[in-house]
Symmetry: D2
């Protein structure tokens, strides 16, 4: 970014931060615990404000209706939005839609883009992404069970998926299914676009996650494909390209996610600081005078800063060198940041004491739902294995440039 | 215990373990997520089975209708019951009633015992305990705000409490209130017995804890005392004895709690082991073949065993030397076991992956609600301070005997 | 133990504790940094005192000249002795001699016992044990390279060993060598008794360990067997029984070791407490007023107590059920206690600050040399694997009895 | 740096890395365990090579004979040099001389610079820095005991210091002493330049640190000032400016140190990777196939990268905003990096197993001596307190820019 662009972007960031604090945080609890349908129009109004401000869909290029400046810029905005669970939705860059838009933008046919990408970018429809299966380990693609078979010009899909986030109310689902069982490990599967009304596609349930089934955008469904038929042109990308596409989807998405987590960390740390300053523990001391609390604040701040530097540098590397050359780095930021997040949330909760257990603050929500950070998009263990094998193969660790 | 008694008790434990596994675990999720009123009769039937088996109210001496053998025996049973969130309730030794019964048995007048202790032991009523306040740090008794003033033969109570667990549906509340602001730090407060129908006593709300307000027994209320008047004989123990009584309440209760946590650990470890054996991660390997999972299993097992030995030895010390001489040890088991619990639950959840985030297993329930273990009855930090100050004062650490 | 015996033993323990504090700790630094030969006579005098007190060779039964009461008693004495690096030597139960005596007592022929066991028990000679090899992973017996071949009535041994502790000055070496490469994994090796003067047996060097090659008893050698010939009756136990014997050697030895580590922990914690009480950090506060230091003291105390309960219970299990039935438990205490040791030493050192880095206290010695606790006799990773596989095989974790 | 400068600097870095690997690492063990005087000339030759290469004294500006490009450049070079304990010495930027040169360059009079700075930069003399005292907590300046009193035109210094690193053989000592007991906390002390031959200045001993007293440059002395008289112009900076100067000394020095630690981490991780690839644990697997080892490699790599990003960003902040505005950040990198260092060294040692305990690799040296990283220049606890108080005071955590 040029200096002028940067100054302008910093101002936009400040606006976003203020908007998050003044407009979104005050209503977040109400929104996430409401029936989603009942709050959708309220959120739509907030989205209009964002559009007017020129910050809508910050993950998509301006050419298709977004406002993306750079991956680093997106990351920094994602951090600001991450401070509230409703931030990304209001700015039009919420998962899983953001990833789906990226897929469609890169690999969609003109027709697919017109039908699905445009309304997604506009925010007039929602989508979901069906990959994880209840019965197979997501870490191993050769175990995937959902099948798509080409039968006289139609793909017939059969299988069961779960953690199909935001399926409830989504207009379309992108599903990963095995198209050639005998192909090489990473070429067995393909992606398909399935409109919600397709016969044979069914939402079984909104899974109760950490005590809450949620609804609408804030839910995770189990879905079934039962002789679900889609036309030939429902294929997204080429046959056997499912995993290649998925990786593309995850690459920049991980910067996005990690910065969102760091936004949560920032929020949690600020709540901790604020409470430590206010909560009296004796006539002369507040919690902030306790060395243990001070340790937690200082450790959290350092870990957050370190993770932030690492993620932003990785963003810069992806842009400079391409995702494939930054792959090891991208795995690193995943487990490093997810673990910082868990530690910071745990300390924040402990600082709040009994209050931290309640839904009177947002910490309990983050504590339980963001526990998933160490699991989805590849658990810690899988990413550590990837990083280690890469270093062992080179028989060398070198600092990145 | 004599050898015969021990053999008999071990058989009872086995019965309890089987009962927990066959009768309680299969219905636990339904019970804890139901409206409590709607499942109370079902639980009552199960309680009858326990009574017939001679294991009812295992924390109370036989003389008053319980089945207590020894603190160690109670601990070992508590561990078995802890494997399910409904275990203690079904055996009539659930918090906060268990502690309240102990208070009444030790300090209640004959009249108080007849009115409240008997029905509590029989399980025909429930009670609650109002101590923690939203606005003051529980760790410092001098900050307590709730007041009780003697006005012409009546105690007039004013204040606000929260985490008054199971207040919803309780027939009676024992409340801690300051009776002499100028008294020495630990002699400022007294306990009062407040029937639920007393004017001025009000349940404000069932606090939403980790996403769930719960209901009936499975809830935590915020309650208000607003010019709430009780007769002189509502005083439990003497004036200014509130903290002394509370300590009595907590002493054996902590053995009880720690062993319950170890029951949860046992359950969580067994779920982890079972899943690791079943879950395929490739054609040739299951999760249990992964060294990381093996590390978690082995670390959990060792930590659980160590905590268990420590808690049972502390039980033995309390019985042999009295609570006051085992006080430092009792603080130790609190933070040591609570932290083992948190680690084991975290590993179990991570082993389950996405499944661990769902309410399809009990792990997510334990993960979120038992986070409180490091907070209630004195947070880790307070107990560590007590232990350290005791060792520093003696300028000596000696192994306990 | 009977009550009388126990009372007597507790008095003996007290004597030992006082002896350690008054006679051994004041000279420990001088001894361990001296040329061993120059201090041997001084140590011999101290040994005489111990013999007179009736505490000599507490790991051996009275029938052969020792003073062993029970494994638990030995453990508790080992804890007292562990407070100084010279404790076990002065009481005649030092590694590796202690283990070698156990081997000879259990498996030695009458002749072997007369020649080697008696002088070892009397403390008139020293021995060493050559098992670990520099070039092969100790965790995997099939990799062992040292060979013993029977050539016309003589065993010809070839190979290289290291961490043959105390070889410098030892009169005899027990060595593990492969006698049948094609035998089943754990039946490939046998043990041999090699007098120091045997041609072909050579000490290559005292390995510099953590900056110190040491000397005499306080050293770890690399040794070479080069066509080293011993007579047929140098075989200890049967052919192929090497690993079975080694396990026997390690079983009770682990109680011994773990309790020694807990003695080190006790020392380190007491040094930490004492320093925290003395060291001023301001006009009004000493280190002990700092909450971080308090946390370390409290965490250390709880971990030590928990480990101690676990180890002593395991001792009781070994005696009651035999080593094989307590095997999983024995693995647990190894990694659990070794990790407690490392944590406690680290905290003690940090509490001492710059002083902790110096050899002005014993902490720096323990910090560097006891780092080995997580490595020798099976590293953490190997024992965790054993424990996990045992639990996974049973598909069940049950509390031990 | 301009692009050209950067390219050139990167080439210099590569040269340095190769030089470290080919010329320094092969002799490092010999050097650090030798009597320093006996190896000084060998090191001097290596220094000549560095001078010819134009990398000598990279912490000092070119104007005074150094080769400094920027703080970030210095940091990156320091990382390369940190891979061996002799790197900084050979490049003329070793502590404590580097810091002393910075002090003299900033605050020395022309005469002081001519007498001391020039020969220091040239590497023809060595210096030491006497601040830490055995009897007072370094964290609290009000406790400092060493006094300097102005008696008829001479400063008379009395007191005892330790961890006066490299005093053995140093030509000059900069000492911190209290000049006004009644001044404000940070204005009580001043710095003085004391030539080694000054009567009353005495090296008491080279402290045995982690088993090694060392010698010459590689030693840490306890020194005594006993009516040690220096002329008025021995004062460095103004009266009462001691702490202000010390801070200046520590600021950029911390970038320097942290990057050195990261160089050690890089070395340790590479040793771990290399050994994991080579060490067989079975016929089919080497250590690198073990998931635990993979976890350690991956966690180490991520932590090192994160720390590195954080430190380099802090270097950039110091240069852009000045040390005072980056102060909180500078405290963060201290404890964050020191803890990464300790974890990486511990994992590397454990990977090496028994070999890790020996001085056959450099890991054991780093393990014991770099334990000091969490202690000197302010222990973790002090820096955490500084960071926490700064955040609490602002009642806000904001990401740094």
């Amino acid at each position: 970014m040029s200096k002028d662009k940067l100054t302008e972007f910093n101002q936009q960031l400040q606006w976003a931060d203020q908007f998050v604090k003044e407009q979104l945080i005050p209503i977040e609890q109400e929104i996430i615990h409401a029936d989603f349908a009942s709050v959708e129009s309220r959120l739509a109004e907030l989205r209009e404000t964002v559009k007017r401000q020129g910050l809508w869909a910050p993950h998509m290029p301006e050419s298709v209706g977004g406002t993306c400046q750079s991956l680093e810029a997106l990351g920094r905005l994602s951090e600001v939005l991450g401070q509230t669970p409703i931030g990304h939705y209001v700015f039009g860059c919420q998962a899983p839609d953001a990833g789906n838009m990226e897929l469609l933008a890169h690999f969609g046919s003109t027709e697919q883009q017109q039908t699905w990408l445009q309304p997604l970018i506009e925010g007039s429809i929602r989508s979901c992404f069906a990959m994880t299966e209840p019965d197979t380990a997501g870490s191993n693609p050769t175990l995937l069970k959902t099948r798509a078979e080409l039968v006289s010009d139609q793909w017939v899909i059969n299988g069961r998926k779960w953690f199909t986030s935001s399926a409830d109310g989504a207009d379309v689902c992108i599903v990963m299914a095995v198209t050639d069982e005998d192909a090489a490990k990473h070429q067995r599967a393909s992606m398909f676009i399935v409109p919600k009304s397709t016969p044979g596609f069914k939402i079984i349930r909104n899974i109760s996650v950490m005590g809450e089934p949620g609804s609408g955008y804030f839910s995770h469904s189990e879905v079934e494909f039962s002789d679900c038929k889609v036309p030939k042109n429902a294929l997204l990308g080429g046959v056997g390209e499912g995993f290649a596409l998925a990786q593309t989807r995850l690459g920049p998405g991980r910067i996005h996610h990690c910065m969102r987590w760091l936004g949560i960390c920032r929020r949690a740390l600020n709540i901790m600081i604020d409470y430590a300053n206010k909560r009296q523990v004796s006539n002369r001391h507040n919690l902030g005078d306790m060395q243990t609390i001070q340790n937690w604040i200082a450790e959290s701040a350092a870990e957050i800063e370190a993770a932030r530097c690492l993620v932003l540098k990785t963003a810069e590397q992806i842009e400079r060198l391409g995702f494939m050359k930054a792959k090891t780095q991208v795995s690193m930021i995943k487990y490093f940041t997810a673990n910082v997040l868990q530690k910071v949330l745990d300390r924040s909760l402990q600082t709040l004491g009994a209050l931290g257990m309640t839904d009177d603050t947002i910490i309990a929500f983050f504590f339980r739902h963001e526990r998933a950070a160490r699991i989805y998009d590849g658990p810690d263990e899988v990413h550590k294995n990837l990083v280690a094998r890469s270093l062992l193969k080179n028989n060398l660790y070198q600092s990145s440039h």
